[in-house]
Assembly symmetry: C3
């Protein structure tokens, strides 16, 4: 057996002088509360507060960071617990867990391994590295742990010191879980919704018409016309605000934002309902919608998050068998400066408007995002996203962004996760890497130690609070 014992200095710089500084900086923020202004945890899970299911269903099957790398090594997704063709899982949680343990070496050097080790050790108290030999034993140990009250969602929420947890929600969602949590005197946490209207932006998507119906019903506003849909969305944004929401999110293939004349938009909307819209029309509709969402943010002050440039469901056979979010969403070349011209022309200096830009194409850090955030008071540089949300990725982000945008115009760390139990490990990673980055500036006399302490503290509190209007 190999010991599982994450080192107290992990991720801090190797140079002893820098490490000493980084240690001090990290100590300042290590135990600070977690602000998680963007993620994919389910509010209903916290409301119900039931024990988590088996270890594999908690830690492996729903986490496409984990399943994609196992799949890349030849493990079919159904062997990892994914449901094929809508059927029941064909393997036990124990068998899924074994797949991971047998291929634990596959993750060497990756951030997934890093998160997993921290989580297994610090959250679940394991003391051995997973391996083929101890797979069953560890599985039993985890299953036992998960059955205890201390490992129910709310207990973990408190233990993780989560100050704010934002979820991601459809405009047609009733937000019942958020409201119930808010009104529950036994729950002290703050769980807030994020308005994500992606499903209403593409009239060619098969679900578009059904979503409009659902939206009409929820908003009690007829969304079958373009104007009606905008009204319904505006109405739901107010409901999100009432439920504590401070932000929206949008995922689009590109950041194009050219507005349409209302008549043209209405005509495309009808063509969408008729099923006669073509790809070009759908793209124009989507780009106008991005503009309209920005306009709404300039009116109601919801912070607009933008996550462009992901090619969804790249492997058609996997999508056909397993559905979306199964590990083959892939990065595209991503531009910001030119496509966002209309939004920034009209709302770029509007004090109510705010836009946080994320990317999976790191060439945009120094070429587009930092220069935009370094001029427009409304634009913020979002933390490294998805494939870039790693120790090395965060270092490249800081090196590229700080030059043109400093620290203040950044978002603070974003865990963006469905994996609730990985939240502390992810934020801890970010705090360590930022401590190391700041230590490098101190060691090379670009920043004083006092200033570095101040920045480190701001990065985990003031900055996310102010950027996401959480105060």
């Amino acid at each position: 057996m190999t010991k599982l014992a994450p080192h107290p200095d992990r991720l801090l710089p190797a140079d002893p002088g820098e490490r000493a500084i980084a240690r001090q900086l990290y100590a300042e923020v290590k135990d600070a509360p977690i602000y998680s202004p963007h993620g994919h945890v389910d509010a209903a899970m916290l409301l119900a507060d039931q024990p988590f299911p088996d270890p594999a269903a908690l830690l492996i099957t729903p986490d496409h960071y984990v399943t994609r790398l196992l799949h890349s090594a030849g493990v079919p997704l159904d062997q990892l617990g994914l449901r094929r063709d809508g059927g029941e899982p064909t393997v036990t949680g124990r068998a899924v867990w074994r797949q991971l343990c047998e291929r634990w070496d596959l993750f060497l050097g990756t951030p997934v391994r890093y998160w997993f080790e921290t989580e297994l050790s610090e959250v679940f108290g394991l003391t051995e590295q997973p391996s083929a030999a101890n797979a069953d034993e560890l599985y039993d140990q985890l299953a036992d742990t998960l059955s205890t009250d201390a490992f129910r969602p709310r207990a973990l929420f408190d233990r993780f010191r989560i100050a704010v947890l934002a979820t991601t929600d459809d405009p047609a969602d009733d937000l019942a879980a958020h409201l119930a949590l808010r009104d529950d005197p036994t729950f002290g946490g703050r769980v807030i919704p994020t308005f994500r209207a992606d499903r209403y932006m593409n009239p060619q998507e098969p679900t578009w018409v059904d979503k409009l119906d659902a939206l009409s019903a929820r908003a009690d506003v007829d969304a079958s016309t373009y104007g009606g849909m905008l009204d319904a969305l505006r109405s739901r944004r107010q409901a999100f605000i009432a439920a504590g929401g401070t932000a929206t999110d949008t995922g689009v293939i590109d950041a194009g934002s050219e507005p349409l004349e209302p008549g043209d938009a209405e005509r495309l909307h009808r063509a969408g309902l008729d099923g006669t819209i073509d790809a070009e029309g759908a793209a124009a509709y989507r780009r106008n919608m991005l503009y309209q969402l920005a306009k709404m943010s300039s009116e109601d002050g919801l912070v607009m998050q933008l996550h462009p440039g992901v090619i969804r469901n790249h492997h058609r056979p996997t999508f056909d068998s397993y559905g979306p979010d199964t590990g083959h969403d892939l990065p595209a070349v991503s531009l910001y400066t030119v496509p966002l011209t209309p939004i920034l022309r009209d709302f770029g200096t509007d004090p109510t408007f705010r836009l946080v830009l994320f990317t999976v194409d790191e060439t945009a850090f120094s070429r587009e995002i930092a220069p935009l955030a370094g001029f427009y008071p409304t634009v913020y540089a979002g933390a490294p996203w998805w494939f870039l949300d790693t120790p090395a990725g965060i270092r490249r982000y800081r090196a590229a962004i700080t030059d043109s945008a400093g620290f203040t115009k950044t978002s603070g760390f974003i865990d963006d996760t469905r994996a609730f139990c990985s939240i502390p490990a992810r934020h801890d990673m970010s705090r360590r890497v930022d401590a190391g980055f700041l230590a490098g500036l101190v060691a090379t006399h670009q920043l004083s130690e006092e200033d570095a302490v101040a920045v480190a503290r701001r990065l985990v509190a003031d900055i996310p609070i102010q950027t996401f209007r959480l105060a």
Copy 2:
């Protein structure tokens, strides 16, 4: 109050072994004269040699590196002394200075803060970091200093040890200041013009016709035809050479360089005069002009600098109120290898021709610029430009360029600044970062210490002198 005392080892590597080597290398070049072959200082300022205006008008208002970041934090540009709608400034210099001091933390970790600290300390002798508390006191101290003879432009020019200072000038400029400086027996400096014909390349620009008239008048050659304009430009290049010029510069949105038949160019020129040229025609005209400028360089030996890929005046409302160069010029994706094919086909191995390539898109370093400079004897890799002109940017540039182009085919440091008093701080930054880069090669036994010393010295003298034909 917080002490302002830039550390003698700042920007040198953190590792003690590397730092010891870097210190030695830096000592070799620390006090070397400054070659500044590209920048935006006004020659007339040196001719007049009047005391500088108030501190804000010297250090803040004209420096869009500084104003853009303050603007990004919500300070309107008129509060920074910029003239709105052509009117008078509405704030005092003291009030502008206070805006900076109150937000001094905004610049933490940025190269602007680094330059500013060095400049305030080493040029102006301040000993406290700016803050809201000491803003007035520092302002008075700076204002007093600026009123002394030791701080008039020529005294600073000598104190900064500037060997050559190149300005940037329109072909229609009379170069009177350059000629007067050259002929002034009391001024020992070398201030040379750079020929920048950007205003003549785009027939859709509102100023194009007026510029042609001005060019005709200055050159005493009728520039109202295409052929006449080329003749006028050629004539002015000779005037620039007579005034000491060794280089040209061109800023274009892309590096396209497809030549036109003279008849086609003449026809587009006429369409420009008629106001009937369309965007496609204007682009063809511009690309042909880039080719013609390269051809002229192949004839007269002026070193051609190319600065492509900047989207000018991104925020239309700011442009409408404040005009150009107000902080919202932004980088575009920039290509070189394909668009420069015609120029390099015809002049790529011509010993008279020389082309220095700059970029604001760092992906071009390893993909385009270094491979071109590593084959074509005429092509040089320009120093990191604008948003990339930072300690971290220079390190990435050296790491990416050296592999395919070595040190010899680079330009030497370019300060590219309007901020005269920041020149020594900027060159000093570059010398420190290069010392650190070379120290890294020495410490990992990729370069001997003797060779590193030789390279460090060449980078600040032989290389700019040879690349820009300053000998």
Copy 3:
């Protein structure tokens, strides 16, 4: 004279703690056999086993890494021994060698200098750095050395501990040298062919028709129809397999892979024969061919290597005088995720299929190649290629690739060289840099020392063996 004595710790990290770890890791792999699954050495050279020609003809003239940088400093290619207009070389080997020695400083800090120093010292036993002063003396010393039996190709093959050497070969090649080597009881090495069908993919290339004839003759299958050509290629792939081949390679300007209906492909094929095909048709033909080659790999299990994104023969006058491969092939922007969609849709999870992706555009590492390799079991991230095959390039590759794809889904080091005597220096460079990268992970507690040792060993053995199916 300056001593030539490569340092035993060269390329290992500067930080003493990291270096100590890296030294241990490097010691584990330093003397491991070399797997070279992709390169351009000539099998006939090993078969003939004649002494190498003069030092310049061995070390300079055929190596475009060396000649391109000398050319960039103004040395015409004919002065480096290249044949102008098909004529005889106009300079002696001694004169060529002198060109290099006189400009030895040009290579400071470059990987070419690094390889050269290692090779001159460790292979040829030189003890002085080349210089104008000692050029003749070193030339004589090298010439003497090359005339000894110990420096004939097979002796060096053994001394270099080459376990497998893959060459690159046209489908119409008879593979006689490979077969003779395989059957030669006096030669213990393994020299295997790689199937590279580039010449058959572009009907607009002047040689296309002749190549079809040659293919028909070699395969004894009529390749004058599209269907026939596919049959002939399939047949030759079997011959390559019979000669020990395990892989193919393809170099294309882009990775487009849209299949055509057989009738459409046949029609384009005929248009190619008629000389009536246009650029669009030729591109469609090429993209279909890429798909067909992938399909063949899914049938016969030859590992498909893909090297896209090189602009060939950029400087037309040099090509006209000196032909191809003369230093002005240059990188293009390179995409993978979208253009490879058809191949990955149809063969992406096929256990027989395998695709190793290389790039000269490093932006693809984190944006395209690692995410693809981290999902598709068939996709592997190829080692840094060409302009990126350098210490700094390898570090950036590992940092960008490991996050999303770990170590297992990489190719192992690829020397890709025509310069036989540089093979050990190149592999040694890679082993040192990987040892340093792993040491960095160990020093920052992201990897245990035991795991790092295991990974280091795998990178030089199991990984190339498994990826290229060499077992």
